[in-house]
């Protein structure tokens, strides 16, 4: 029922847990296996098959199947209540915080079933990071402590490593130059846009393989939004990003693929340019041209 963009599902059997996070110099993709020009077959980061999510008896996602390409930005669009946030949260098992949530189907991260019985959701969340709509740096911690909290609370004490990771991830989040002289100040002293980039740095510091973003710019002013979008395009070189957005222009600016959700179903999934210029389904066309939703 869904058209999968360019990739064939067989490609999902590529090397499991391929390292998407180079240890040093994140801005230099020296070890990038796909240099510009010769395009290697795109690797699949996530394989989702027949995913259904229930909250109690309410079926909020209906048999979703799609592949998410590695080192690309995939946008999830759709009107409010279409299940796009639930979809995103099912990718790192955050939807399980709702007591009566239940899932069916399969999600594989680089070939590994993240819902298999012996997988701890805590471990899944270390591999799949998340940035929320409302920036939420921890108010009791400094800027630097916010960045390293995921490492420190998982037992890493090495001060040298923590300092190194702080600078590295703050640079990746394009925040280093603004905060390098006040790393010990409270995180809540930053502006809203800076706080959101701090949250992105915090998510990157644990070196996830995938980054989920739930409307990360919807609470920001246009300038801060532009900075976050630039950052997403920069991060795409090393990370796989799935982003939920209400803003169609944003989807066209930053994403490679777009999935349109409506009433819990995946209506259409294709390259972003196809979705926005020549969609196959009537519903998609109506939504992207602003006729409903």
């Amino acid at each position: 029922m869904t058209s999968l963009p360019e990739n064939n599902p067989a490609a999902a059997t590529s090397p499991p847990r391929a390292s998407t996070t180079p240890e040093s110099a994140p801005s230099k993709p020296a070890a990038n296996p796909t240099p510009g020009g010769t395009r290697a077959p795109a690797e699949i980061a996530l394989t989702i098959r027949d995913l259904s999510i229930y909250f109690g008896t309410n079926k909020v996602l209906k048999e979703i199947s799609l592949d998410i390409q590695s080192k690309a930005v995939t946008a999830i669009i759709g009107p409010s209540g279409c299940g796009k946030s639930t979809f995103l949260r099912s990718l790192n098992r955050m939807h399980e915080l709702v007591p009566e949530a239940r899932m069916e189907g399969q999600i594989r991260l680089f070939g590994h079933d993240i819902y298999s019985a012996n997988v701890d959701p805590v471990v899944v969340r270390r591999r799949v990071g998340m940035v929320f709509q409302k920036s939420n740096p921890f108010p009791t911690m400094s800027i630097a402590d916010n960045v390293t909290v995921g490492l420190r609370l998982n037992g890493i004490r090495d001060r040298g490593l923590l300092a190194e990771r702080t600078e590295q991830t703050l640079r990746m989040a394009a925040l280093w130059d603004e905060v390098k002289d006040r790393l010990r100040s409270p995180a809540i002293s930053l502006s809203g846009g800076q706080q959101q980039r701090l949250c992105i740095a915090r998510a990157l510091a644990v070196q996830p393989e995938l980054l989920l973003m739930d409307e990360p710019a919807s609470a920001l002013d246009p300038i801060a939004t532009a900075r976050v979008e630039e950052l997403i395009l920069e991060l795409k070189k090393d990370y796989t990003i799935v982003i939920v957005t209400h803003n169609m222009q944003q989807a066209t600016r930053i994403s490679d693929h777009t999935a349109f959700f409506y009433l819990g179903e995946l209506v259409e999934y294709d390259t972003t340019s196809k979705i926005f210029t020549n969609p196959t389904k009537r519903q998609t066309e109506d939504y992207v041209t602003g006729r409903f939703g």
Partner: protein, 284 residues
């Protein structure tokens, strides 16, 4: 509209206003009387000796309540050791883990416990601690105050933990931090000032308790050198002095009450300072 009608309405309005004002003033009158009495009757016995000396034998004037002051702080220390961990952890359970039906019963139980007369607590601890230990002791006195603190601390801890926005819990869990670490290092740390406030208020509440100490800590005219022996406490000393027939002891009872009130006021002021800090922080 007829004029007299208006007049009557205005009179009713003014009468109502005056009545409520008088009642509002009546509310703070006892406090003023209390301070006035304590100051006028107790200030004459309040001197350096009062804070540093042991009570004098019957018939001699002078002496102090140093042992009772220390005793009260020792009892509060034991009470905190009992009440704080159980109260705070219980509050964490209610706010972070509990199933709603169980929470309802626990909250109901805590509210009932808050209403249990303090002398009842004394009798219970007398049976549970004093009888098996074959004697009154500081332990028994501290335990009874600690048990009285548990429901108070538990309810305030639950309230302030619930005030921590859910976004912080989600942010922490999404970083792959386990639930118990999230609760201790993120949620409790965010609510810490509120929890400390609750603990201080509970301490202030039990610091003046007399009835439960009568047959647990019992009181002591000398220094306590062993927590398994009876210990003096300011409220007990006040009670013993107040029911005595000696004029000098009566003055000391007033002075003791004044000191006790000052200690409790001090705790309340520190609570004020703590909460003011919290509000100023959240506005940044």
């Amino acid at each position: 509209m007829e004029a007299p009608n208006h007049q009557w309405r205005k009179i009713k309005n003014v009468m109502m206003q005056i009545t409520t004002l008088v009642c509002a003033i009546l509310v703070i009158t006892p406090l003023c009387l209390l301070f006035y009495h304590l100051l006028s009757s107790g200030i004459s016995a309040l001197n350096w000796d009062f804070f540093t000396k042991l009570p004098k034998p019957v018939g001699e004037t002078g002496g102090g309540i140093a042992n009772a002051l220390v005793g009260t702080f020792v009892l509060l220390g034991i009470a905190a050791m009992v009440g704080v961990p159980i109260g705070v952890l219980g509050g964490i359970y209610l706010a972070e883990y509990g199933a709603s039906w169980l929470n309802r019963w626990i909250r109901f139980g805590a509210d009932v416990l808050n209403g249990v007369p303090s002398i009842t607590w004394g009798m219970v601890v007398y049976a549970l601690v004093v009888v098996p230990m074959k004697g009154f002791s500081a332990w028994a006195g501290g335990i009874v105050l600690g048990m009285m603190m548990i429901p108070l601390i538990m309810r305030t801890a639950e309230e302030v933990l619930r005030l921590v926005p859910n976004g912080y819990r989600e942010a922490s869990l999404a970083l792959g931090i386990s639930k118990w670490r999230t609760i201790l290092q993120i949620v409790v740390r965010t609510a810490l000032k509120g929890i400390v406030t609750g603990v201080l208020l509970a301490l202030a509440r039990v610091a003046g308790e007399t009835a439960p100490l009568l047959f647990t800590a019992f009181g002591n005219r000398y220094w306590n050198h062993n927590l398994s022996d009876p210990i003096a406490a300011v409220p007990l000393q006040i009670f013993n002095y107040a029911i005595s027939p000696y004029e000098d002891w009566h003055r000391q009872a007033w002075a003791g009450a004044l000191v006790l009130l000052l200690v409790i006021t001090l705790i309340n002021v520190s609570v004020r300072v703590l909460t003011r800090d919290r509000f100023s922080q959240s506005t940044h």
